[in-house]
Symmetry: C2
Amino acid sequence: MHTDLDATFAALADPTRRAILARLATGEATVTELAAPFAMSQPAISKHLRVLERAGLISRGRSAQRRPCRLNAGPLQEATAWLAAYRDHWAESYQRLDNLLDELRAAEETAASEPAEAEGDDRA
Amino acid sequence: MHTDLDATFAALADPTRRAILARLATGEATVTELAAPFAMSQPAISKHLRVLERAGLISRGRSAQRRPCRLNAGPLQEATAWLAAYRDHWAESYQRLDNLLDELRAAEETAASEPAEAEGDDRA
DNA sequence: ACGCTGTATAACCTCTCGGTTTTATAACCA
DNA sequence: TGGTTATAAAACCGAGAGGTTATACAGCGT
């Protein structure tokens, strides 16, 4: 249960991959759809997807010649759990930020209908 | 405010560095103290510390010829905030884990005297 | 002044990463 | 059957990670 953190954090260390995850949070997408926003070749995206897949962050189906990707957030939860152990430490420093997360959480729950303009969006 | 995630996640992607952070959650420590548990040369640890420092995860003081390190958890909070955007997605899949975090949190609050022993300890 | 302790720097090696271009595979369409 | 679309695979490249050993530097103790 304490493995894979290497792969998970390493996968998250790249802005392109974080953006891909953000996109996939919206719903399934094909490789070319995912590649579109980036000034990068298609094979480069395929490589990123392979990294995400090996980290367990995405999984892929088959639809004709397309290979749709979908988010698999399990590892993100593991990562979050690891980080949670340090919550106190930044709470010490500046407790106000403890609220930030609660706000964030509340915002998400409330904004079920409102057009999310909040973060989760990286990259141009 | 949404930068540095690259550096933060990259820093967290190494088990040695995660272990160092776990150790520092206990309190300040000198370089040799930090190096002790690892089957690795001292310069290697110094390099890891430089990575952590450049990621803003630690800062260092001076006490005689020693250069004590202390945890600076700000970036961890940023990382947590980023991950928080995906909470729903694993909540969908298996809601039970939503509780896990609450339990973890509760455990920490209760164990006000026992600093993070959960996980964090990697490596042989 | 001398030597010891604590830490950083330098030079080097190997491996992986992130990107490229080119080519192959697979499944659709006509 | 042939062509086009969607994706993967191969071969290559430069840069950086992560480790090593050897060396330099700083500050203490005597």
